[in-house]
């Protein structure tokens, strides 16, 4: 391979890096986001073409791998339902992690006696990639309902995690300081198993409502794992792209944590669940006021401004299309309709936006929490659909509440609050919600989709 062609390859990598940077920047702006994504895809294509000209690739395997991966990716992306998007993102993220993990393993397997720097990079790629992979799989299981979304705590969980961390440290010390050999390969395998275990035990105790934080964090990890893989093969394009993803994932994690008024440490190692159980029961007095769909119809019929507050319950009931239909009917009836979306509503960052966009809700009708709260007093009816903690006034009013201080949508300040809910069970955080018993609150019990469809039917009959 001549220097000349190596320079061309490097130029390809630089071009790819630039396209990633511009692409990510555009992804943050609504009107440019789609083009940004295409630009970053173009960057990826250029990087892949460039690497194909690198020395000594085994093209049989390269083509096999690319073909199989493309086919699976294509089918998965085409067939996945929008409601399954959180678990899809989790799964894809896990695949990125395991790829970096395997790159690390392959490198250790083929060149165990590489420099100290590369060996450290291999350990980092395996550790971070492994955690991203197994953590994402657990998150996938929780989001897809294959394992319980409730926090699962095993006895002595904390000690187990600390034990795994300690064992990882010992293994990495051995792997770094001693020359490679058959015995050390065993240590390396142990290191890989422990990395995967860390991801499982790290995510399994985290509840479904905290999933937006976890998904954003795992997203960041898979980027950092790619970055570590870049240090293994000494390639700048991996380092640039990986650290961009790492940084963006961390920022998103920060946004999610802020929206819950909790620190990252609190989400990851929280005694949140346990604490909320003890504090919650005493504070809420009063009876919820259930009404029928017909009563609700009369309330809505007279309303001039309506705000929908969707939550995870809307996603579960797949009620977004029915909700959009009701929204349109209300608009035709002369009401101003908006959708107020809390940053952590649902199970991944921006979950509700994706669902409502799928149902063709207009972009202009989506309002962020900070925009809708100041005008809440002027709203006639606020319809809460399968949301709970994100509209809980206890976050403002009750200092002993575990969610005190969390920014919430002030649904209770609307003239009337209609709450669509399966039952009186508390929300995911296990915190009682005083909103349900407020003077201006009315409960509509039942499946969210069925209830909304009843309301639509009421409007159509009249």
């Amino acid at each position: 391979m001549t220097d000349y062609s190596q320079t061309l390859i490097d130029l390809g990598y630089i071009l790819a890096s630039i396209l990633f940077i511009v692409g990510i920047k555009m992804l943050g702006r609504p009107e440019q986001a789609r083009r940004g994504n295409l630009l970053s895809a173009l960057g990826m294509l250029i990087a892949i073409v460039a690497v194909l000209f690198e020395c000594c690739l085994d093209y049989t395997w390269v083509i096999t791998g690319l073909a199989i991966g493309s086919l699976i990716g294509l089918i998965a992306a085409r067939t996945v339902k929008m409601t399954s998007m959180p678990q899809m993102v989790a799964l894809l993220n896990g695949f990125g992690g395991i790829a970096s993990f395997l790159v690390g393993w392959e490198n250790y397997h083929s060149q165990p006696d590489s420099t100290l720097f590369v060996r450290v990079a291999v350990l980092l790629a395996v550790l971070i990639g492994g955690v991203a992979f197994s953590g994402s799989l657990v998150a996938y299981g929780k989001l897809a309902g294959k394992i319980s979304g409730r926090p699962i705590l095993i006895g002595g969980h904390r000690w187990l995690t600390i034990g795994i961390l300690a064992a990882l440290l010992i293994c990495s010390a051995l792997l770094i300081y001693f020359p490679p050999g058959p015995l050390l390969y065993v240590v390396f395998v142990l290191f890989m198993v422990l990395s995967l275990a860390l991801g499982v035990f790290g995510v399994i105790p985290i509840g479904g409502a905290d999933m937006p934080v976890v998904i954003a964090l795992l997203n960041s990890y898979s980027g950092l794992a790619a970055c570590a893989a870049g240090f293994i093969i000494l390639n700048n394009v991996l380092i640039v792209a990986g650290s961009l993803v790492g940084a963006s994932g961390l920022i998103l994690t920060g946004i999610m944590c802020k929206a819950m008024n909790r620190s990252l440490g609190n989400v990851l190692f929280s005694g949140f669940k346990a604490a909320s159980r003890t504090a919650a029961t005493t504070t809420v007095q009063g009876e919820p006021k259930p009404i029928t769909a017909e009563d609700a119809y009369y309330i809505l019929e007279a309303a001039r401004s309506v705000v929908f507050v969707p939550g995870y319950g809307m996603a579960v009931a797949q009620a977004q299309h029915a909700v959009r239909e009701l929204g349109e009917i209300l608009e035709n009836n002369g009401a101003e309709v908006r959708y107020a979306i809390h940053p952590v509503a649902g199970r991944m960052p921006g979950h509700m936006n994706v669902l409502l966009a799928e149902a063709n809700v207009l972009y202009e009708q989506l309002a962020e929490m900070d925009d809708v709260n100041p005008i809440m007093e002027t709203v006639d009816v606020c319809i809460v659909i399968g949301a709970n903690d994100v509209v809980n006034p206890a976050a403002r009013e009750i200092e002993s509440s575990p969610i005190y201080g969390m920014p919430v949508i002030n649904a209770d300040k609307a003239r009337t609050v209609l709450i669509l809910k399966r039952s009186m069970a508390p929300g995911f955080a296990g915190v009682d919600n005083p909103l349900f018993v407020k003077e201006n609150s009315r409960m509509l019990f039942g499946d969210a989709k069925a209830t909304v469809q009843q309301l639509v039917a009421q409007f159509k009959e009249s």
């Binding site: 943050g28 609504p30 990125g96 790829a99 790619a226």
Partner: protein, 96 residues
């Protein structure tokens, strides 16, 4: 390539990433996440070069498996993101 230079690039890229995405409207959180997720499939470059070292069959298989996973990540990630953003785009233009 010198190690110092790689670390230099790493630190600068982290800072750049933080600067790029300091404020993102919430409707773009999911596409941003899945779009950047697709970018993390850049590890495919590492996977592709890994097939070249070819110490033995296991090494080749590990490299190939890495290619498959990374390709799913890349192809699936970009397509899914594009699908979502296409939905977002529809609005605004259609009505109004």
């Amino acid at each position: 390539m010198s190690i110092g230079l790689l670390i230099f690039v790493f630190v600068l890229a982290i800072f750049l990433g933080v600067e790029l995405i300091s404020k993102v409207p919430s409707q773009l959180h999911t596409p941003l996440m899945s779009g950047t997720n697709a970018i993390s499939g850049i590890t495919i470059v590492g996977a592709l070069t890994a097939t070249g070292s070819g110490a033995d069959l296991l090494a080749t298989l590990l490299g190939t498996a890495a290619i498959i996973f990374a390709t799913i990540n890349v192809v699936g990630g970009y397509l899914v993101t594009n699908r979502m953003l296409a939905m977002f785009k529809l609005r605004g233009k259609e009505k109004k």
